[in-house]
């Protein structure tokens, strides 16, 4: 039994997203394992980013359930009961269960602890690198500042928390090799640095699940390798599970434990990198074959 079946962190069931007549995601179900690097791949327009948008509260899905758990609460035992209530979460001594589709966007990050990065980078370009990371720690800082009153008076409790937040920010700047640029406006950084800063910012929210939308896009091979190291470190040292969309197959096959393949909004394959790599449906989707007969022909040609 694979890790994502034994120890899931995210379980997506029957997710469907329609925009008017267009079906972007059609009845998609998959699970992402805790401590796994799960890759979501597929040709352009397959609906990968839409899945991310649904998970992080950017879109409200047309149909579907997305359950995320903290701790070791049994998803299957609690999810039906939770769905029948009007609530969006349940907490037991073993852990908590969240229904992401019911949560407003800011709570997906604040309570369910899901963070994400974007394919087209979305930093606060007018703010400094350090400030970008401080914004990501807004909620604990806001509490520590007694909703600004303590912050205004410069109370010790707030000052200490602010120092701790700066330390966290520095830690991630070291990890992403951006410490020298801490006081520069984020918009002035080169492209590769901005990508890493987005990851650092997402990690400052202390996520249990980090969703990365094409983190390797536009990186050169050296940067791509460094990215792999960084992502592994995030998984191994911080217990954060990763869900990533990636076009670069070398990255996907190298670092992922589990691959889900989408085409036209439907799941066509799901399994280990090896399994997916040899799945004829995946090959057909990537080579653009129209029907089974053609797939067989292609398979024959490539010698499968």
């Amino acid at each position: 039994m694979s890790n994502w079946e034994k120890d899931p962190i995210l379980k997506v069931e029957h997710l469907t997203m329609r925009f008017g007549g267009l079906v972007a995601i059609n009845n998609l179900s998959f699970t992402a394992g805790r401590g796994d690097i799960t890759a979501l791949i597929g040709p352009n327009g397959a609906g990968k980013t839409t899945v991310f948008n649904c998970i992080t509260g950017f879109y409200k899905p047309t149909v579907g359930r997305m359950s995320l758990r903290h701790g070791h609460i049994d998803i299957d035992a609690h999810v039906e009961a939770l769905t029948d209530t009007a609530g969006d979460s349940v907490t037991t001594p073993e852990g908590s269960l969240y229904l992401l589709e019911r949560m407003p966007d800011f709570q997906v990050s604040a309570r369910a602890k899901v963070a994400r990065t974007f394919q087209n980078i979305r930093l606060f370009s007018g703010m400094t690198v350090l400030e970008n990371l401080m914004v990501a720690q807004h909620n604990p800082l806001m509490v520590a500042s007694n909703w600004t009153l303590g912050g205004l008076l410069g109370l010790a409790g707030f000052r200490n928390r602010e120092k701790a937040a700066i330390e966290t920010a520095k830690y991630w700047l070291e990890k992403t090799k951006l410490i020298d640029r801490a006081d520069d406006p984020a918009g002035d950084l080169p492209y590769g640095d901005q990508r890493r800063l987005e990851i650092a910012r997402a990690m400052c929210t202390e996520p249990v699940l980090l969703c990365l939308d094409e983190p390797a896009a536009g990186l050169n091979p050296k940067e791509s390798l460094e990215l792999n190291t960084l992502l592994r470190a995030i998984r191994d040292d911080h217990g954060t599970s990763l869900l990533l969309i990636e076009h670069d197959m070398s990255v996907v096959m190298e670092i992922s434990d589990h691959v889900v393949v989408l085409d036209y909004g439907t799941k066509i394959s799901d399994g280990t990198p090896d399994h997916v790599q040899n799945d004829p449906k995946v090959i057909a989707a990537y080579l653009g074959a129209e029907d089974e007969a053609e797939v067989e022909k292609i398979e024959a040609e490539v010698g499968l």
Binding site: F106, S125, H138, W147
Partner: protein, 340 residues
């Protein structure tokens, strides 16, 4: 604005008197110009401080949700009425001693800030929040509606006549006197300038140095992204309305003490001027709003003093038009950054 006009007229009368006395010869003419200039500078800065305080409310709301809150001028008018009611109530019970007046003003300021903030919060909640995802003109129309609603509400509940407070703080500090023209700064003006500077300082600190201010700046740049980092964008916007209204309430209380009267339509002209100030300084920019406010105040005062009081608004708006032709983003505004 009747009292405002009286004030301006008397300032102009002072100018004319000094012109008659000094005659046309060299140094005397110049030094008399200097005195008039200094006096008008003081008056202009006072007026500008009030405009600047209101302009911040416009500029912050525009920065964070890209909407012109046309009801903001009327929120300012409401604050002056609240201050008036508090002031009258306190002095009715405790008399008109110097200490009481100070206490009454402080109470008027505080209560006006709280009540006005509540008004502004309610307006945002009722009239703007639901329309935020709607097409761009919807919240604008709603804001104009709110403006008219507030005006009529005050007209009906407080009456359509000017509401005065007893004259207070009439003492002035004489700075210098030459050629029969006294340059003076009144206690009221000192109070307005000091309180404005103090509150701007606090406000600047909140926006630059506290988590709340960081969240506001983040929402201004990319509200969706801020939400994905766990920031409650709706609440941050509500707080922005509250802060803008609190500053407008400071302006309203100052306006009341300065002119001594308030009228239900008093929100309109200062509101439009403050909006102009925000655009002149570069809408979305906080220092720009203050600078714009000061400039509009100074232009208006100097134009009234040296040229024609009838055309002071023409002057202020003409200068706005000229600045915007050559600097479309305003004086301190950033050029449009393209959002990806």
């Amino acid at each position: 604005m009747v009292a405002a006009n009286e004030k301006e007229i008397s300032a102009e009368a002072g100018v004319k008197k000094s012109r008659v006395k000094t005659g046309e010869n060299g140094w005397e003419a110049f030094s008399s110009t200097m005195e008039v200039f200094v006096q008008q500078l003081i008056n202009g800065v006072t007026l500008g401080a009030v405009y600047g305080l209101i302009a911040i409310g416009y500029t912050m709301v525009f920065g964070i949700i890209g909407m012109v809150n046309f009801a903001h001028g009327d929120v300012f008018m409401i604050s002056a009425f609240v201050a008036l009611i508090v002031f009258m109530a306190v002095t009715a019970f405790l008399g008109m001693g110097a200490g009481v007046i100070f206490l009454a003003l402080m109470l008027a300021l505080l209560i006006s800030m709280v009540v006005t903030a509540l008004y502004s919060w309610t307006i945002e909640r009722v009239a703007y929040r639901k329309l935020r995802g709607s097409f761009r003109l919807a919240p604008l129309i709603s804001a104009i509606g709110m403006s008219i609603l507030l005006m009529n509400f005050v007209q009906v509940s407080q009456g359509a006549r000017n509401k005065p407070i007893p004259p207070i703080m009439r003492d002035t500090i004489h700075l210098f006197e030459r050629n029969g023209f006294q340059v003076a700064i009144s206690y009221k003006q000192v109070m307005i300038i000091v309180v404005t500077a103090l509150l701007l300082g606090i406000f600047w600190y909140v926006v630059q140095k506290t988590p709340l201010g960081r969240a506001q700046r983040a929402c201004e740049q990319d509200a969706k992204m801020a939400a994905l980092l766990g920031i409650n964008v709706d609440r941050t916007i509500a707080v922005t309305f509250i802060m803008g209204a609190a500053l407008a309430a400071v302006a309203g209380t100052m306006f009341l003490t300065y002119y001594g009267v308030v009228h239900f339509s008093d929100g309109f002209v200062p509101g439009v001027k403050a909006f102009t100030a925000a655009v002149l300084g570069g809408i979305g920019s906080l220092p720009g709003a203050v600078l714009g406010g000061l400039l509009i105040g100074l232009i208006e005062t100097f134009w009234s003093a040296y040229f024609s009081i009838d055309y002071k608004d023409v002057a202020a708006f003409s200068i706005l038009a000229i600045v915007l032709i050559f600097m479309p983003q305003g004086l301190l505004g950033k050029p449009e950054v393209e959002k990806v």
